[in-house]
Each structure stands twice: as C-alpha cells, then as structure tokens.
C-alpha cells in the first residue's frame, strides 16, 4: 500500500511542558479519508498544524508525499489545502474574492480559478451570494466559504479541521457530500472531528486520539465491532447505592460483556440482546434507574470503553 503521509514519534510540546501531541505514529494511505476522532484538546488540530507545516514539531519525523516535513515545507505547501477550525476569512472581501485570493496564492491561472470558483460555489449553494461581503454571511455560509478556500487549487491532500463545527444539519450534510466528492476523486483527506457521526460516516480509517496519544486505529466498523455485536444500555443511578457496589453485580450477568462508569452517576454496559434482557438487569441492580437508553454501539461507546469518558466530557 502506498502511504502519502507517514509520521514517526511526532511530538509537540508547548512551553516544554504541555504535551499536545505525544509521539504519534501514522501511515495514511493515498486516496483515503483518514479521520481523527477525539475530544477537544486531544491534539487533533495540533497534529494537523504540524502536518500542514504551520507548526514545527518538537521532535519526531514525518514525510508527506515523500517530502520531509522539516526540510521541504515549500514543496509540501504546494500539495496541501487546509481548512482551519476557525473561520479564517477576510471579512471585507466577497466570497468569490476570498476564494480567488487563495487561488492566486497558489498561482493558478485566472481562467482556471474563475471557472472552478463558480463550480465550487454552486456545489456549496453559495453562487447567488458569491459577490456579497462575507461579513454579511451567516456562520454556516462562512464555514462553507472556509471549506472552499481549502480546495480551490485542487490539492492532493486536504486537511479539514472540524469542517462542520457549528453547522445546522442541512449545511452539515452539504459539507459532508462535498467532502465525499473529493473522496471519490481519490484525493487524500485528513479530517478531524469530535462528531462521532461525522467520523463514522466519512472516514475510511479512523484514529482515536486522547491526551496527545493514539489510543485506537482502524475502520469505524471494526472499532465498533471490537465491542461486540450487542447493545449499549446506559442509565443513571439515583445514589442509593454506589457504582462500585453495582458494577461487580452487573458484570456477573452472563449476557453482559463489559461495564463502564461514565461521569459521576452513569453506567454503560455492553450486553447481547439488551432490549429483551433489560428486566434482568433491573432485577440485578435493584435501585431506581433513571434515563435508561438502549442503542447499538457507536464510536462514542468505543471512546468510552477506551477512556471511561464521553467525547464531550
């Protein structure tokens, strides 16, 4: 398999102490959509910043398309497009002008970028407002312009840092379709998100990252499959008994595969045929259970299973 991005023990410390990224090893196949899933502050954006040559690593090596990250950043910049997490736009330029500016920075031919801008604006449903100043745009529209600026020059590798953050479901779907379109064109896409649905829906390969370290890698279905094929039952206890007392009791049930505490008062358990067995669980617990939910396992459950925390905690 041809890897377009390879990193070896990549680290980034801030002020010599804060370990934002703590020894990441990656192999990103060419043409894949590689997702980074993790909570805020996990080190996703820092990793993207390093791979997109913005932030120098504290230590470690990386190659992008065979170019050394430390020595050949100019060549790397010609290959990549970066959609930052923040809305980085020139507010007093129109949407079209913002996109053109980035195209001009990449020395694209005028006729090429004009045509392509129209095409992209159309894909994002922004053609009608393309000549309006972006400061007059809604957050969602700005976010879409932010995405377009990263892809105008048809880069080989595109970094999307939380591309759908703050978008309404409809706009989010437009952005996801847009990203999938690049996936079909065999471009390599690196996507960071803390939205498990986004990670699940878009990623070919997923890396779960926490406290600057990779804690799991694999295809989303494989990661979920590792938890088993049962259901996730999650509930809150009212404090009559402690979780420490309850959890061993639940674990003894033969259809329960794992039990994980969440937050202060919640327990999540992975059980085969959970819906039918819920009464047995209630008999075992023998305390008042609040907010019971039963669902198929998700990437969030994978994360909970690995860290004991929710993605948003």
């Amino acid at each position: 398999m041809e890897y377009i991005i390879e990193t070896h023990d990549l680290k980034r410390y801030f002020n010599g102490k804060i370990k934002a990224v703590d020894g990441i090893n990656l192999q990103v196949p060419k043409g894949s959509l590689f997702g980074f899933l993790g909570p805020n502050g996990a080190g996703k954006s820092t990793t993207i910043s390093m791979l997109s040559t913005i932030l120098p690593p504290t230590s470690g090596d990386a190659t992008i398309h065979g170019y050394d990250l430390h020595k050949e950043s100019k060549k790397i910049k010609k290959l990549i497009g970066v959609c930052p997490q923040e809305l980085v736009l020139w507010d007093n330029l129109t949407a079209r002008e913002n996109i053109h500016l980035i195209a001009q920075m990449h020395k694209m031919a005028r006729s090429d970028y004009k045509e392509r801008t129209d095409e992209l604006l159309g894909q994002m449903n922004l053609l009608e407002r393309s000549n309006d100043l972006v400061r007059k745009f809604s957050g969602g529209m700005k976010r879409r312009v932010n995405v377009l600026m990263a892809v105008i020059h048809e880069p080989e590798i595109i970094f999307f840092d939380e591309p759908s953050a703050g978008l309404d479901p409809q706009s989010r779907r437009v952005v996801w379709d847009f990203i999938k379109d690049f996936q079909r064109k065999k471009k390599t896409i690196i996507l960071t998100t803390h939205n498990m649905e986004e990670a699940d829906d878009l990623s070919d390969t997923l890396v779960i990252i926490d406290h600057g370290k990779i804690i799991a890698t694999g295809k989303p279905n494989d990661l979920k499959g590792n938890l088993g094929n049962g259901d996730i039952i999650e509930f809150k206890i009212n404090g009559e008994v402690t979780r420490e007392e309850l959890m061993p009791r639940i674990k003894k049930l033969d259809f329960v595969e794992s039990v994980v505490p969440i937050g202060k008062k919640r327990i999540a358990l992975h059980a085969m045929d959970g819906l039918r067995r819920i009464s047995e669980i209630m008999d075992t617990v023998q305390v008042k259970m609040l907010d019971i939910s039963i669902r198929k396992n998700t990437l969030e459950d994978v994360f909970i299973n690995l860290t004991g925390r929710r993605l948003r905690d």
């Binding site: 997109s52 040559t53 913005i54 932030l55 120098p56 100019k74 910049k77 010609k78 990549i80 497009g81 970066v82 930052p84 923040e86 980085v88 736009l89 020139w90 980035i102 920075m105 990449h106 020395k107 600026m149």
Partner: protein, 410 residues
C-alpha cells in the same frame, strides 16, 4: 376588568421589586467580572499603569523645557575691525570691551531665556545668512563697527547710537525673544557705561520674510506627527492579521513569509502615503504657507523616509504582540516620545538629545524646504542622510523580527 387591572398592577409592582432586587447584584457581579477580567491581563495592566506614567512624565519634561528656551546664534563682531591697525586710537583705552561684554552677557546662562551662542566671528555675513536660511541657527547678530565707540560716547565723543543688526529665522517668536534680549542688554550697558543713553537696535530680517502664523510654522511638525500616528495603524494591521488567523491561512499556501510581509508593508505604505497627501492637501486648503521655491519632490521624499521608519517601528511592535488592540495601544509608547522629544510641537525649545529622534531631522528639513524654499544638500543633506539610515535600520529590524516564524504564527 377592574379586578384584572388590579391584579396586573400588583404583578407589575411585584415584578418591579423583583427586577430591582436582581438588577443590583447583576450590575455588581458584572462590574467585578469586568475588573477581574482586565486585571488578570498582564499586558492590559502594564498599559493601564504605564501609559499615564509615561505620558505625564513626558509632558512634564516638555513643559519644563519651555522655561529654558535656548537659541543658536551666530555673532559677527565688526566692532574689532580697525583697532589693531591704530594702537594710538583713543578707543584702545576701551578696546572692544563693550562688544565683548555684550557677547559675554548674551552667553550668560543666568540671562532670561539663556541664549546660547554657538559660534561667532568665524563666518562671513553671506555664509552666516545661508546657514540661517537653512535653519542651522536661529539668529544672526551683527555688532556694528561703532559699537564700543557709541557705547562709551561720553568719553569718545561719538554721536552715533550703538548699532546691532539682527536677522532671525522666519519665526515671530524667535525674532521677538532675540530682539528683546539684545535690546535689553544694549540698553542696560548704555545706562551703566554711558549715563543713561539708550542704544538703537536695528532689526533686519533678511530671510524672505513672510508673515507666518503659528499654524504655518507647525505644519511640517503636524505632517510628521500624522505619519507617526500610522505606527499604531501599521502595528494594529499586522497584529490583527495574526489575531484573525489570516496570516496562518496564508502560511499554508505557497506564499512565502517575505511575500506576506512585503504585501502587508506595501499596502500600509500606500495607505500612509495617501493619508499624508490628504493631510498636506488639507493643510494647504487651510491656508498653510509653502514657499514658492519649495521643492515638492523633496517634501514627499522626506515624508516617505519617515514612513519607512514608521513601517519598521510598526512591524517591530506587531512582532511581539498577538492582537491588534494591544499593538495599537502599545504603539503610543513610541509615538509620544517621538512627537514630544523629537521637537515636533516645539521650536527653539528642543532637548539637547532631540537630534537622536528622526522626527527632529524630518521637521527641520520640512521647515527649511516648506518655509524657506531651500533644498540644497548643504541645508538638508544631514537630515536626509539621518532619515535614510534610521528608516533602513528600523525597517530591517522590523522585517527581521516579524519574519520569524514564531512572530507570525504566535
């Protein structure tokens, strides 16, 4: 209906009471939060304390300096001519004591306004006037040939009044101060040495004299002050680019840091140049005097050289600060000293060290060009040289500091 109205009234009253109860602590908490927020920001605290301190100190220095006004004066003493050739002349009894005494008093630090004599008797009148036109000196005092003879008229029998010709730069204040002091000295000497005969002091202003208003005199300074304010604008622009992340966005494209920097500097240069031209036009519309022989190319050149320094200083500030607000505020720590200590708003009351500021040279050059119509190398060569060197050095420092990856991406 009435009942309802009563209920509504009662509810209204209750609401008002509740609202009032809630309103007060909210204001209180908000105020405390604002204060906390500000006082936890070290940069803001430093500015909050530092700015008034520096401002007051500088203003105090400036106002203090107004009491010790000093002028550079050229004196040509014609009183000594002829005495050495005729040792028997009765005037030798007194030699040239009157003119020497006059110069000695003029030099005295204790004298009101403490006139500083920079040089005398070493220049011929033509050269001296040329220096005066170039504003290298404030005044030229020519002591007449008959000065001592006329002062000691009781003994010499001279019928003439002691004569002194004063030529000053094109500034009414300078003219009045120098004339008043000179007249007072001569009158005082006449009273002491000659039993009360007053001397006549001839005032002659040989520089193409135009009635200049205070505004006319300060226009060059105002222009330079205007350019200096742009330090704040330049610093805020570059720091703002960092703050908004647009610089980082550009850093991910094929554009180099140098290109980013130069494009930013160029845009600021053009904006500043436009502002200066606008200021110049407004000054002209308000009736500012520009000498008919003034060289416009030189005026623009001097201002452009100042803009270079401004860009350099703005970049230097922006390289250390992360947001436009801080950059804009902190710029004033540079702007005010440059304005106050560089002699923009003073004339004849500059500090001894004012020459280290580029503003001093810029204002001098502009005054010479705009008010006296002089544009020779002798008159403004040193000003242009200093401004060029200062502009290059500050721009280089600014570029080097800002071009660092750390400065752009911080």
């Amino acid at each position: 209906m009435d009942k309802d109205a009563g209920i509504h009234e009662s509810k209204k009253l209750n609401r008002t009471k509740k609202t009032r109860r809630r309103y007060h602590p909210r204001i209180f908490h908000l105020t405390v939060s604002h204060l906390r927020n500000m006082l936890r920001d070290k940069i803001q605290v430093l500015f909050l304390i530092g700015f008034p301190l520096v401002f007051i100190i500088l203003l105090a220095l400036e106002t203090e300096s107004l009491d010790r006004m000093s002028y550079d004066v050229i004196i040509i003493n014609n009183d000594i001519i002829g005495f050495e050739e005729d040792p028997e002349n009765i005037l030798n009894i007194y030699n040239t004591s009157a003119s020497i005494q006059f110069m000695s008093i003029l030099e005295s630090e204790e004298l009101q306004g403490a006139v500083v004599i920079a040089s005398y008797n070493t220049l011929n009148t033509t050269d001296a006037k040329e220096y005066l036109r170039a504003e290298k000196y404030h005044a030229l005092i020519v002591i007449g040939e008959n000065f001592s003879e006329a002062i000691y008229r009781e003994k010499t029998g001279c019928q003439q009044n002691p004569e002194i010709n004063i030529t000053t730069v094109n500034d009414e204040i300078v003219e009045k101060v120098i004339t008043t002091i000179t007249t007072q000295i001569v009158e005082s000497m006449s009273l002491q040495l000659n039993g009360g005969d007053y001397a006549e002091v001839t005032i002659q202003n040989s520089v193409d004299y135009v009635e200049l208003s205070v505004f006319d005199i300060f226009v060059p300074g105002i222009l330079v002050a205007g350019v200096l304010v742009c330090i704040s604008q330049v610093a805020a622009h570059f720091a703002g680019e960092k703050e908004r992340g647009t610089m980082i966005r550009l850093a991910t494209t094929a554009v180099s840091r140098r290109e980013m920097l130069l494009s930013g500097a160029l845009s600021q240069f053009l904006i500043t140049t436009f502002q200066i031209i606008l200021m110049l036009l407004i000054a002209l519309m308000l009736g500012a005097y520009i000498h008919p022989n003034a060289n416009w190319f030189l005026i623009i050149l001097i201002l452009v050289l100042v803009i270079f320094s401004v860009l350099g200083m703005g970049l230097t500030i922006a390289s250390f600060l992360k947001d436009s607000m801080s950059a804009s505020l902190y710029s004033w720590f540079l702007i005010i000293p440059l304005q106050v200590l560089g002699g923009i708003f003073t004339y004849g009351a500059e500090f001894e060290f004012s020459f280290i500021f580029p503003t001093y040279w810029a204002v001098h050059a502009l005054r010479v060009i705009m008010l006296n119509g002089i544009g020779t190398w002798e008159a403004i060569g040193i000003d242009i040289t200093y401004l060029t060197i200062f502009g290059l050095v500050t721009t280089l420092i600014g570029v080097l500091l800002f071009q660092r990856k750390k400065a752009i991406l911080s």
